[in-house]
Symmetry: D2
Subunit: 342 residues, 4 copies
C-alpha cells in the first residue's frame, strides 16, 4: 500500500534504476574523477550555468556541507522555526560547524526581510553570534513555494547586509515545477549563493548535490565535502542517477506529477465536510485538519504523520509514484470514516 | 580496462544489483523502520551474535559514527601511522569528535601492546588526552592480516587498560576469508567492541555498517548516527545490498576471489627480475618495488597508485571482479616493460 | 565617575586585594595543587556541603565547563531567550559542545515546567536534539530572583524528566542575599545539579567557580576543565580571592549592599514623573523606561546600557561599591534632565 | 622553599602587584574598552610595531585563540613532538578548532624546513588535512632558543608554502633576553605572523596576550577571542600587569635573571660527578641526568619534574625570583646526596 507519509517512502524511478545499471560496467576512477561524474557536472552547468557541484548522500549531509562552506563557528544561520536544518537533523549543522541557528517564527514557512531585520542588530557586537547566512527551504516544510519576486527580495536583502542565501532544495524540483520556470531562473538568477539540490525525494535511489554558485563559497568546498564524510568513492553511481534526473526533463515530469496529485488530493478532501485544508498547496504536500476520530483509522490504512501534535494538523505528501487511483482511494476512505462516525 | 588502483574502482556484483531491483517495490517506511532493514539486522545477528547495527554511506562515515560512540573530546584514539582514519579521511573523526588521534609507527601495519604501552603514561593526567580507543584496520592498509591470537591479545590489553577496540573493517571480508573462520570468530569473539563493516569495497554499490557489540557503546548510538548525517531515509536500498552480501556466502566468495587474485599477482610478478614484493600478501593488496622506469608506462595501461613517494613502493589492489586473465596481462606487460629497457 | 552600566565595571574589594597580596609569598604548586586552593575547596564545602569545585577565569568559561559536564553534542540545553549563555557569549557553549540551545520566551526571565513541557516531545526521537539540561540564571538577566519554591519545582521537574539543572550564578550572591537564606539552601538543597558561582561581579578581581553537586557530572569534569583552557597555573591567586569572599560573610555584605542600592535607586526614580520601573527589582538591577530625550544626556554623565532597543527600556546595575550618594546624584540628574525638557 | 619545578610556581613581581593596585580605582568600562587597555595596546605597538592585541587568561587560551585565527577544521598545524599545544593542553586546540596537529620528532625542540618538507605532499589532496600553520615554541620546551637566522628561514619557508607561523611565546621573554635583541627583532621582523606572548611565567599574576601581526589573521580575531571564553570583563587588571611588564624593561630584567640562574645552575651541577647536562641551556630551563638514587631525595627538598620517564632525564626551571643562594643550596644538596651514596 502506498503511503502519504513522506516522499522519501517512495522507490526508484525506472529511468534512474536503468541509469545505475548502465553505470555498472567495469572499473571507474573513484571519488568523482570518473567520466560519468564529469558528464553530470556538465549537465548541471547546462541547467544552472557556472556552478561547482558536490555530490552528497543525503539531505542532512548536503545542508551540512553547504553551510560549512558559508559559516564560521561564531556566525549564525537564520532560518524558520520549521526549517529541516533546525528541527529534523538532530542538530547536525550546529554540531558540524559550531555555529548557532536562529529560528524565526513564520506563518507560512517563508522568511522575508521584515522578519529578519530585528536580528541584525547583533552585527558587529562581539558578544553575539554574527548573522551570516539566510537559509530557506524551497518548497518549504509547510508545502508553500516562494515566488521569484520573494526570492529576489530576500537575496538582495541578504547581500545588502553582507550575508549569503542558502537554499535547502530537498524539494526544489517540486517548487520549480510549480513555478514553471527553469531551474536557473528559480535559483541562481534570483541570487541564491549555494543550495542543496534534492534527488532522494524525487525518484532517485540515493543522492543530493550541493550547488555552489558564489565563487567565494567554492574556495574550501572540496575539503569540507571530504571532511564531512560525504565524498563517495563510487561516485559514478550517484552521478548516473542525477544524469538521468536532469535528462529528458525527468526531474520536472516527476515533480509535476507529485504536485498534481497533491492538488487533486487537496481538492477532493476539501469537499468532505469536517475537513479543512490548512496551508496553501503550492507543491506536493497537503496540510489538513480532519475530525480527530478519523485520524488513527485513516493512518492504519495509509501511513502519514501528525504534523502538529497540539493542533492535530496532518501532513500528506505525494510523490512521483503516487497514482490518481490512490488519491481517490484515500479520499474515499477518509469520507467513509467521517460518515461512519455520524 | 580494469585497474589495480583500489577495490573501490570496481562495480556492483550482479547479485547485489538484483537485490536493489527487488527492493524497489512500492513504498516503505523510511529511516530504517522497514522490513528489509529488520531482516538484514537479523542476518547480521545470525553472523555475529547480538549486535546493534547502524547503516552508513561510506567508510569515513562508519568510522566517524563508531568512534563517536566510544570517544569523548578529551580522549584519544590510538592507531597506526597508516590508519585510514588518520591519513585518508581529511581529519573527519578528529573534527567530528574533537578528540586526538595518536598515530604509532609500525612496520607491518599492525598494533600490539608493546607499541601502545608507552602512550598509557598519559592516563589520569589532566594535561594530556586520555587514551580511550585502540583502532585497528583488518585487513590493514599494508595488506596484512591480524591473526586471531594477535587480535585477542590486543583486545585483552585494551580492556585491561579500560580502553575499547574499534576495528576499521573496510576490508574485513578479505581478512576473514584469508583467516578462513566465521565473521564472529574473527571479530566479537576476539573481543572487538565496535567495528565498521565494509560493503563498498566488496561488491556493493554503496553502504557500510557500524556493528556495536559492546552494550556500553550502544547507548547513544542512534543519535550519533543521525547527527553525523549518516542515517538514510531510503535505508531499504542499503539493507537490501547487505542482505545479499550476507546471503549465500557472497561476502566470502567475493573476498576469497580477490585474495586469490592478489596472491596470484604477487607470485607471478615476483618471478620477474627486478621486482620485489615488499609486504606479506595476506589479503587482496600487493605491495612491490619495480624498476623506476617501468612505473609510469605501467600506470598508463593499468591505473594504480604509488604508495610511498619516497621509496617508490607501489600498491596493487585486486577486487571481486579482477580476473586471472587481467592479472596475467598485467604481469606480462610489466615483464615486457622491464625487458625492453635492458 | 561611577557607572550604572554593569557590576563588572566595578573594581576589587579591599579585602580581596589583600588576599591576593597575602597569597604572593614564595612558590606554590601549580594547577590547583597548592594549599590555598585546598583550603578554599574546604570553605566551599562548608558553605555548600559536598561539592567538586573547578575554578575558572570568567563566567563564559564557567558556563562552558559546567555545560560540557552535563551535555553531549546531540543533546540540548533549555534556557530563556534572555539567558547569558544564549545571548551574550557569542555562542561559546554551542561551539564548545556542539549541542543546541533552546531559548524559551519568558516575561520575567524565569523558566517553569509549563514553559518547558512542550519541548519535551522531542525526547526519544532521533531526528531531534534531546533536551538534557535546564539552565537558569539566578538572579536572572532581568533582575528577578527565583523563590526557593520555584527552584524546587523546576529541579523536581527536571529530574523527573531525566534532565539536569544548571544554574548560571554570575549574580548568585545577589540572589541569595535577597532571599536571605544560606548558599546551600538556595542551590543544592533545591536540587541544583551544577552551577557557575560568580566572583567577578561581586568584588573579585577575577574568578568564577563551577560547583558540581551531582556526582554523575563530576566524572570527567577535570578533563573538560583543562581542555576548555580554564585551568589556571597560578590558581592560588583565584582561590585566595574566593577564600576572602567566602569568609566573614563578605559575599553577602557586598551583595546585600548592591541590592540595597538598587532598591533605593528604583524607589527614588519611580517618584519622578515620566519614569516607569519595568521589572521587579529583586536583586541589584533596575529596569526602567524614561523619556527618550533624557537617555543620551543621562548616559553622558553615568554610563549605562539600553537593554531593549525596540522599547528603549534601560538597565541600571548597582555593585558592591555603589554609594548612596551616587544613587542620589544619579536620581537628581535624571530628574533635572526631565524637568529641563518640560 | 622555592621549587625548580616550573616558572609557574613563582609569584607576582612587586611592580606587577603595584600595577594591579593602581588599576583598582573606581569604575572602568568592561571588556577592554577602558583607558588602561588602550594605553597597554599602545605600549605593545611601541615594542612590536603595528599589532592587534588580544588579552587572554592563560597560555592554552592564547594558543587556542591564535590558532583559531589561522586554521580551518580541515587544515593542520605542524609542531614538534614536545610542543605544549600537542602534549600539555589536553587537546584544547584540536577540540576548539577540529583541526589536526602534526607532531614532528626533533632532537632539540626546534623545527626546520627539512623536517617539515615531507609533510607538504598532503597539499592539494582532498583526502588529507592541509598543512596551514607551523607552530613553534620560543624558547622551546627543551630550553633551547631559535636563533634569528633559524626563525627567518622557517618563516620564509612557511610563507613560500602558503602557511603561517605561530609562535608559542609562553617564555618568549626568556628567549629574547637570551638573544639580547628587541622583542620586535625576535618576532615580527623574522616573519612571525601571530604569537602568544607570555606573562604568567614571567612575573605576572595572570595574563597572556595574542599578538597578531598579519592583517589577514586579524579579520575575525575579536569573535574567536570572545567565543573562546578568553575575553575578560575587567580587562584593565590584566592590561595593567602587561603595562608594568613592558615598562622599565621589567620583562627583560626578570627574564635575564631567570636565564642567569639557569646558566649558573647548569654550570654548578655539571661540576658534580655523575651529573650530565642533556640540553643546551639557552634560556631558563636546565635538563640533566643524575644518579637515579638521588632523584627522589632531591625532589623531597626541591620540587621538580622528571621530564622523561624512560630516560629519567630531569627538568629544572628557574624563574624571576630564583636566587643565587637557592641555586647554590640546590647544587650543594645534590652533591651531598650523590656523595652520601658512594
Amino acid at each position: 500500500m502506498k503511503a502519504f507519509a513522506s516522499d522519501n517512502y517512495s522507490g526508484i524511478h525506472p529511468e534512474i534504476l536503468d541509469a545505475i545499471h548502465n553505470a555498472n560496467s567495469s572499473h571507474a576512477i573513484s571519488y568523482g574523477d570518473d567520466t560519468l561524474t564529469t558528464e553530470t557536472n556538465s549537465l548541471f552547468e547546462k541547467h544552472f550555468g557556472p556552478v561547482k557541484v558536490l555530490y552528497t548522500f543525503n539531505g542532512t549531509g548536503a545542508n551540512v556541507v553547504a553551510l560549512k562552506c558559508a559559516t564560521l563557528p561564531f556566525q549564525s544561520v537564520i532560518c524558520t522555526q520549521y526549517a529541516h536544518i533546525h528541527v529534523d537533523e538532530c542538530g547536525a549543522p550546529v554540531q558540524a560547524i559550531g555555529c548557532t541557528l536562529v529560528p524565526i517564527a513564520t506563518e507560512d514557512g517563508k522568511l522575508n526581510p521584515g522578519l529578519i531585520k530585528p536580528y541584525l542588530s547583533a552585527k558587529g557586537n562581539v558578544h553575539h553570534n554574527q548573522p551570516r547566512v539566510i537559509s530557506i527551504s524551497q518548497s518549504t516544510e509547510l508545502g508553500t513555494v516562494y515566488s521569484l519576486e520573494e526570492l529576489k527580495i530576500l537575496c538582495d536583502f541578504a547581500h545588502a547586509n553582507d550575508m549569503f542565501v542558502h537554499l535547502d532544495g530537498a524539494r526544489i524540483s517540486n517548487a520549480v515545477a510549480a513555478l514553471d520556470v527553469s531551474l536557473k531562473e528559480a535559483t541562481v538568477d534570483c541570487g541564491v549563493d549555494i543550495m542543496s539540490f534534492g534527488g532522494t525525494k524525487n525518484g532517485m535511489m540515493i543522492g543530493e548535490a550541493v550547488l555552489i554558485f558564489n565563487k567565494e563559497l567554492q574556495q574550501h568546498a572540496d575539503y569540507f565535502h571530504k571532511q564531512s564524510a560525504q565524498l563517495f568513492s563510487k561516485n559514478r553511481f550517484i552521478a548516473a542517477q542525477f544524469k538521468a534526473l536532469l535528462s529528458n526533463n525527468l526531474w520536472k515530469r516527476m515533480a509535476t506529477h507529485a504536485n498534481k496529485m497533491a492538488r487533486l488530493l487537496a481538492e477532493e478532501v476539501s469537499k468532505i465536510e469536517g475537513v479543512q485544508i490548512t496551508r496553501s498547496t503550492d507543491a506536493n504536500g497537503v496540510f489538513a485538519i480532519i475530525p480527530e476520530h478519523a485520524i488513527v483509522p485513516l493512518q492504519e490504512k495509509f501511513r502519514f504523520y501528525v504534523w502538529d501534535e497540539s493542533t492535530l494538523e496532518l501532513r500528506w505528501m505525494c510523490s512521483f509514484d503516487t497514482t490518481e487511483e490512490e488519491v481517490r482511494h484515500f479520499t474515499a476512505t477518509l469520507q467513509q470514516l467521517i460518515k461512519k462516525h455520524h
